[in-house]
């Protein structure tokens, strides 16, 4: 333990890396996620070229709608410049002759605008134009009896912090395989491990003594990441982190994840021949597991094939177990199968390493 604690650079890396990843990835996801979770307003320039009563009415209805943030067109700015400078995401032009039906209302969108927002904006402008042309005061109120929106609570799409806090905590926990395997191989190379086996202690006890500090560091890593998520990140990134109805379920999940990560570390140490090889193997393995497991790209937005492939990654099971707690308020019985899979992964890693390893 003391050897590991003395390696300050590694310890710092193990704690600072996930904090940085959580912060920046949450920021990056915040905009995208806000769109998906709560909806975003569309900034829009309304260019009323007609100035007729109906055109003024339409322009007024558009600007007053809750989905729209009206933006004044900067003097002399053409549409391309408006989009290039991010002044607005859409420009609606109400041409002269609109009220007679001679020329249609024109909508131009920022080319990078999300397709679903284009559809929403187009539907909105269409319905408002229909209201004006048909003389209906509030079309939405008229059709409210015909179309009713019903949606259940969100159980799939986490908030940015719900996604990134457990995701990058898990990612960093798996990265412990690097110092762990490098440490094992270095001790093997310099004969320290051989020396340990000259004492009257069992090989299992020596191995357990080597693994336990890494296991504990994993647990501390997760606890700190959670504290950072709840008390620090929530100040910068909305919505604030919600730990679910049964936060104590985090304990068995974290222990199972720590078992899986240390198992992975031992397997890497047993497979690699040199410390350099082990660090490459551990890093590549962790990144691939992260890519597949919904760490880098959230599982909820993956295509169906990738969603199935994600199941090969222990990080997927770990992340889903945490999302069960934070997002779905799941009972322990729901989480249990994921814990069993993580524990099985750990057992397989330890077993294969035990068969393969030649410690001395």
């Amino acid at each position: 333990m003391l050897v590991l604690v003395r390696d300050r650079q590694t310890i710092l890396l193990l704690f600072l890396m996930p904090v940085a990843l959580i912060f920046f990835m949450s920021l990056a996801l915040e905009g995208v996620w806000a769109d998906k979770l709560v909806g975003r307003k569309i900034s829009m320039v309304v260019d009323n070229q007609s100035r007729s009563y109906q055109a003024n009415l339409l322009a007024g209805k558009i600007k007053a709608h809750a989905l729209i943030v009206p933006v004044e067109r900067p003097a002399g700015a053409d549409v391309d410049r408006i989009f290039a400078e991010g002044t607005a995401q859409a420009v609606v032009t109400i041409p002269p002759g609109f009220e007679e039906g001679d020329r249609p209302v024109e909508i131009r969108f920022d080319p990078v605008m999300d397709a679903s927002y284009r559809i929403a904006a187009r539907s909105l402008i269409t319905s408002l134009a229909v209201e004006v042309v048909m003389g209906v005061d509030n079309l939405e109120a008229v059709v409210s009896g015909l179309v009713v929106e019903r949606s259940g609570p969100n159980r799939e799409l986490p908030t940015p912090l719900q996604q990134t806090v457990p995701a990058y905590a898990i990612f960093a926990m798996f990265f412990i395989a690097i110092p762990m395997s490098v440490g094992f191989l270095r001790e093997k190379k310099d004969g320290t491990l051989q020396r340990l086996f000259t004492y009257p202690v069992s090989a299992n006890l020596v191995t357990l003594g080597k693994i336990t500090p890494y296991f504990l560091i994993n647990v501390v890593q997760f606890v700190l990441m959670m504290l950072v998520g709840i008390f620090v990140m929530s100040r910068f990134i909305a919505p604030a982190f919600h730990a679910g109805a049964h936060p104590w379920h985090m304990l068995p999940v974290t222990l199972a994840v720590a078992a899986a990560t240390t198992g992975f570390g031992v397997l890497v140490a047993a497979t690699a021949k040199t410390p350099e090889q082990s660090s490459t193997l551990a890093a590549t393995g962790a990144i691939l597991m992260g890519v597949f497991g919904g760490i880098m790209v959230p599982h909820a937005v993956m295509p169906p094939v990738m969603k199935k492939l994600a199941m090969i990654s222990p990080m997927f099971w770990a992340h889903q177990a945490y999302l069960d707690i934070f997002l779905r308020d799941a009972a322990f019985g729901i989480i249990l199968p994921r814990l069993i899979i993580l524990t099985l992964f750990a057992i397989i890693c330890f077993y294969v390493a035990g068969r393969k390893v030649r410690w001395i």
Binding site: L2, V3, R6, D7, K189, D190, G191, T192, Q194, R195, L196, F197, T198, Y199, P200, V201, I360
Partner: protein, 239 residues
């Protein structure tokens, strides 16, 4: 009673066509200092590992003070200083000793008093709180030996204990080994330094290509290097 008895040991590494040790036997009487010499690849390190129970699966037998290995009590009689500097560089000298003392099953008080003794004997008392990484090669070698002495072993296995150290550290180490031997500690010394073997040891076993080629008294040999080359040949032993 012999401190060490090795009888007809044959050992082959997995996948190796030839055995590393072939029907090898030797004995070291209690209280003696015995040299185990051989060219590179002769099987000395393999034998050391078999004695300490790190390698198993051989035919034949190894006994330490009458206890057939592997045996945890017999292991507690052995102090082993491997050829590599087998220490934790980020820990201090005292922390290293504390760790290895705990591995040997010693109590905290025993570790504290024996650490003071071992650090004093190896000339490291003043550097006991410094990180091993800051030590010179000679200091690291001496601490490597101190760690082997900590639990008061009756049989000391030394693999190249003076490799890469200056004459001052080497002579300090020789004086310590002779003092330990005078106090009853049996020493098995693996070395390539003929002068060292001749100066410290009363018995000699020559090992080559996994087989014993000589076993006798050091006093029967005049020039050990000439004797060694005569027995093992002058051809290079590149592995």
């Amino acid at each position: 009673m012999n401190a060490l008895d090795i009888s007809s040991v044959t050992f082959c590494y997995d996948g190796s066509p030839a055995p590393a040790l072939r029907d090898f036997s030797m004995a070291v009487a209690d209280g003696r200092t015995h040299a185990l010499l051989g060219p590179n690849g002769a099987g000395k390190s393999t034998l050391m590992r078999i004695i300490t129970g790190q390698l198993q699966g051989q035919t034949g037998g190894v006994s330490v003070y009458g206890l057939r290995m592997p045996d945890s009590k017999a292991l507690s009689f052995i102090g082993c200083a491997p050829q590599p500097i087998s220490l934790y560089p980020s820990l201090t000298a005292r922390e290293n000793l504390r760790f290895f003392g705990a591995m040997a099953g010693m109590s905290k008080d025993q570790i504290a008093s024996r650490s003071d003794w071992a650090l004093e004997k190896t000339g490291l008392a003043e550097s006991s709180e410094a990180a091993v990484a800051s030590f010179s090669g000679g200091m690291q070698r001496r601490l490597n030996l101190a760690a082997a002495l900590l639990h008061s072993p009756k049989l000391l296995l030394l693999d190249e204990p003076s490799a890469g150290v200056d004459p001052q550290s080497r002579n300090h180490m020789y004086d310590l080994l002779m003092e330990l031997n005078a106090g009853g500690v049996t020493i098995l010394l693996c070395t390539h330094m003929m002068e060292e073997a001749q100066r410290l040891c009363s018995g000699l076993t020559l090992l080559d290509r996994g087989e014993r080629i000589y076993d006798g008294r050091m006093s029967d040999i005049g020039n050990l290097e000439e004797f060694f080359l005569k027995k093992t040949g002058r051809g290079l032993r590149d592995l």
